[in-house]
Symmetry: C2
Subunit: 223 residues, 2 copies
């Protein structure tokens, strides 16, 4: 049973990786940067996106793929920004996959798009296993969740290109060793950037915006 389950999982992941690579090729041809945003429920994915869209929407063509288990609460917020957005309702599924994302991308006008953000399902476990065809993985960990999460959910943090430590404004109210945190992440993932931000006060958001623009420039230089 266990080995049969493992073999099914391996096949699913390998088909997923193939589709993801194909998607990345398609985006590369159009000079589009795609960023997959992952975190626990309530870490601040939607708030981060709302501020990021506001900041960039007059400068770049932004599109959003919004993953939800149920409801359209987040998608409705994103649509209020008047940018192209597609909601994927997984109907109970715990993560997005490369097929779902590809179908969503085909609804965008790629000639008018520079950056696609994916808001994945709120889940630190399942989402880490599925390559969606994005160029960058951004993982949010919020201060109230605690500084032990990278050790408890190592795959997610090993896959991250950037770790955003959100809700830095409430640091005084929680036991979170912020001084030791960047080194902890480096231990799992030497190439990941770590940024301290507050989507509420705006602290650190300029560095996140610069990180995105650096990703865009890197993309244009390569192609």
């Amino acid at each position: 049973m266990a080995s049969k389950t493992l073999s099914i999982k391996k096949n699913i992941l390998s088909a997923n990786a193939e589709k993801a690579d194909e998607t990345r090729g398609l985006l590369d041809n159009s000079n589009i940067l795609m960023i997959n945003i992952m975190s626990s429920p309530g870490s601040g994915k939607t708030s981060l996106l709302m501020q990021t869209i506001s900041h960039f929407k007059d400068k770049y063509g932004i599109a959003v793929i919004e993953g939800d288990v149920a409801s359209s609460i987040d998608a409705d917020k994103i649509l209020s920004q008047s940018i192209p957005a597609v909601q994927i309702n997984t109907g109970g599924g715990c993560h997005l996959d490369a097929n779902m994302v590809r179908n969503a991308i085909e609804k965008f006008d790629l000639n008018k798009t520079d950056i696609i953000f994916i808001e994945n399902v709120g889940n630190l476990v399942c989402t880490a296993d599925f390559d969606l065809g994005s160029h960058k993985n951004a993982v949010i960990l919020s201060i109230p969740e605690g500084d032990d999460k990278p050790r408890k959910y190592p795959t997610m943090f090993a896959e991250a290109d950037i770790v955003l430590v959100n809700k830095i404004d409430v640091l005084p109210h929680f036991d979170f060793d912020i001084a030791a945190f960047p080194e902890l992440i480096t231990g799992f993932n030497p190439s990941a950037d770590v940024l301290l931000v507050s989507t509420k006060t705006g602290e650190g958001m300029d560095k996140w915006f610069s990180w995105i623009e650096a990703g865009l420039k890197e993309k244009i230089k390569i192609h």
Copy 2:
């Protein structure tokens, strides 16, 4: 593909439910109450358990099943309380299942056990689908996660016998409509209790302890 996946999932869930029912019967014969604690990562499952064990361990036989994706951080904390505890390391799996729990239970001396607590994997999606053979499901939602989570992860809240709203001590620092929250839960799940607690300050914990003892008494009355 989709229907094949659905059918595999249906078979897995039905085998799981059968094993869970069998486990419940076994526990009923020994007058043991089993409570499955679920939440997002970082909502306070381990803190709640630590305080609950301290409160009850001289009065009742307590045992703990500790579910983790990786690491033994939580299990080590629980073992420091000198009570029987079994760690299940899912090796990347996003939830416990009835088989894993049954194997763990067989390591306890049931004649010396009154209450078994399960700390499930930190995940608001996958854990909700798997009956573990417990008598009660306790779901923790912490204030920083936001009051929209029941609408975004409805299955979890529909399965709850009790919803513990944790970190109530930091309420002034977050936008969480606490006045409207109990009614929101009632909308999903009319029979669920809602308790406001802080595992940090101890606020509301007496009501949680009373809820557990009411569950124990109910159990003894039935058998």
